[in-house]
């Protein structure tokens, strides 16, 4: 099976704003290394999860993938096309805007409050010349509203976003993301702002587009419980890098990297008896700054298993199971 998206050694650095004098004196610029050498592949009809805590670089990776940010280094392939250096015009000319879409986190901020739902959904169709007649436009909009379960669609089409609940708004955000029938969608924390009782429906909805149209997803989240629910494979990010990757169930039930182990041990389990028995693996201190990440393995100053080599040499990705890799010296075969 061929990947629909493949990312190779992706880096995104943001220059730190410093005064001119500082730059002259210090001689070099400093950078926030938001994403620092990330590689992964996403296959057709697959949901690949990027999970990590605040500042791990997961959202930046997603933004680079949809062309909202330019990579500093590295390559991104969509099918066989290298899309990493394309400018916005080329994105549009090659039809990538239609094929690659993004669903944002906050349904309150990502919809124009002055536009009716109909206009919000019509805009991408018109801008991308995806419809020829008014009838076609109407039909597409009503069908998408139905697909996101806003039924009857004509009752929702002429409302404004503020007249809808959070869950309904997120359905509109999804309808807009899906209206051009994309092949690949980046969904950045699509349920984290929603109440518990509606999260599952939104996840099931995303899944239905995969099943019906074969959409592939990059699902970005900090919540491993939803990642397990919807994802196929996962990459765990720490300080701009993927430290462990593999099938979701395998990584969650059998984590190998000390960071993944700590992360998973901290996740509350909705079972009081189990929850009170489980042990939490604590990492020392707090996540270091991405401006000067630690040398060697980035986790070593916090890692309970740190060895000599960890502070000196960055560990490679090591095979720890079927399709399961971790970047940790503990697993190097001598």
């Amino acid at each position: 099976m061929k990947p629909i998206v493949s990312v190779k050694n992706l880096k995104k650095y943001y220059p730190l704003k410093k005064g001119l004098l500082y730059t002259i004196l210090m001689g070099e610029k400093e950078y926030v290394k938001a994403v620092d050498g990330v590689s992964f592949e996403i296959y057709e009809k697959e949901i690949f999860v990027l999970a990590g805590e605040t500042g791990s670089g997961k959202t930046t990776t997603g933004k680079v993938l949809v062309g909202l940010e330019k990579p500093t280094e590295g390559e991104i392939y969509f099918k066989d096309q290298n899309i990493s250096r394309l400018n916005p015009k080329e994105w549009k000319r090659k039809g990538l805007r239609r094929k690659i879409q993004m669903i944002f986190q906050d349904p309150y901020e990502s919809l124009n409050p002055r536009s009716k739902i109909y206009d919000i959904l019509a805009e991408p169709l018109i801008v991308n010349k995806a419809v020829e007649t008014r009838e076609e436009l109407d039909e597409k909009i009503m069908r998408k509203l139905e697909e996101v379960k806003l039924i009857p669609p004509d009752e929702f089409a002429f409302r404004y976003p503020h007249q809808l609940s959070g869950g309904q708004r997120q359905r509109i955000v999804i309808a807009r993301g899906m209206i051009l029938d994309p092949e690949f969608v980046v969904a950045d924390e699509p349920v984290s702002m929603l109440d518990v009782s509606i999260r599952i429906d939104i996840l099931n909805l995303l899944n239905s587009f995969r099943e019906k149209y074969g959409v592939s997803y990059l699902y970005i989240t900090h919540d491993l419980a939803t990642a397990r629910y919807i994802g196929d494979r996962i990459g765990i990010m720490y300080l701009g890098q993927i430290v462990e990757t593999g099938p979701v169930e395998e990584v969650i039930q059998n984590p190998k990297h000390p960071y993944t182990q700590a992360l998973i041990s901290a996740i509350p389990i909705p079972d009081p008896e189990y929850a009170r028995r489980k042990e939490i693996i604590e990492l020392k201190g707090e996540i270091p700054s991405p401006i000067n990440p630690p040398k060697g393995c980035r986790l070593h100053p916090r890692c309970p298993f740190a060895m000599d080599i960890c502070s000196k040499k960055e560990p490679p990705m090591i095979e720890v199971g079927r399709g399961h890799q971790a970047s940790c010296w503990l697993y190097e075969k001598i």
């Binding site: 609940s165 109440d195 999260r199 900090h222 397990r228 901290a266 996740i267 707090e286």
Partner: protein, 330 residues
Amino acid sequence: MSKETVLLVEDLHTYYFTLGGVVRAVDGVDLEVYRGELVALVGESGCGKTTLGYSIMRLIMPPGRIVKGKIILDGINILELDDEEMRDIRWRKVSMIFQGAMNSLNPVMKVGDQIIEALLYHNAISSVEEGRSIVKKLFELVNLDFERMNSYPHELSGGMKQRVVIAMALALNPDIVIADEPTTALDVTTQAKIMKMINDIRRKMGISIILITHDLPLVAEVADRVYIMYAGKIVEAADVYSMFKEPKHPYSQGLLSAIPSIKGPKRRLEGMPGEPPDLRKPPQGCRFHPRCAYVMDICRTKEPVLKPLASGTKRIVSCWLYDDSYSKGG
């Protein structure tokens, strides 16, 4: 061992009198908190849980008003106190960790000074020196280096700011701390550390905690008892084990079956149909009936009463399914 009640809320009604109508945010709530226990108050956005917390602090501002009920704290009905008397009790007997408080710290004042200022305001100390020694003790309690008292908020991480806020809530040795979503903005590893710390402090100081949250897995980890709130009312209360093992109210059942977990079998979950009601015009009868899978005729017309599941038990539920008087009579 008999349990000592520190807080008793009876038939509390807190309404907001807005131009668009009366919002019945808290509409007849009963709640009891024992000394030293951690009670979780669970519900979705807009169910009234934060308003209930503010009511217990008596911090409801117009257009909101406590219309009816009793809030008995250490034997005193605080709704009968005047503002001056209430100011003496607030923070001393009951304090609150407000939602997002870590982002409301004064950005141009050192965090230690902010705590000392609060202590001075409450006449809890007679000198700044005395304040420093209290801050030192508080910082020890919340695992912060004493030097951090000279930091400004922007120099601290989210987890450290939350520790400062917790230290503030504990400054006057309260009996009860209301913690409103104290860890929602934090990463899960930080959340685990903060919750463990809150729990350690509770045991050490014997204080009671009301944890307001929508995060059920977190509740399973830390709570002793759970109250589930829906549309301004408590629909069910039970000890944490019974609640997660065998929720009785259809709303509790729906909530608990809609949460994905990293453990246990992987299966397809279903959300709850519909949306919570507009609290300006809540549905007649049981407020959950439009979304309930077990709805009966009576649910549409008559409101169920919160009462014990069986006589002598602490499990209470407000649902006609469990009401003998209805099933026997009807």
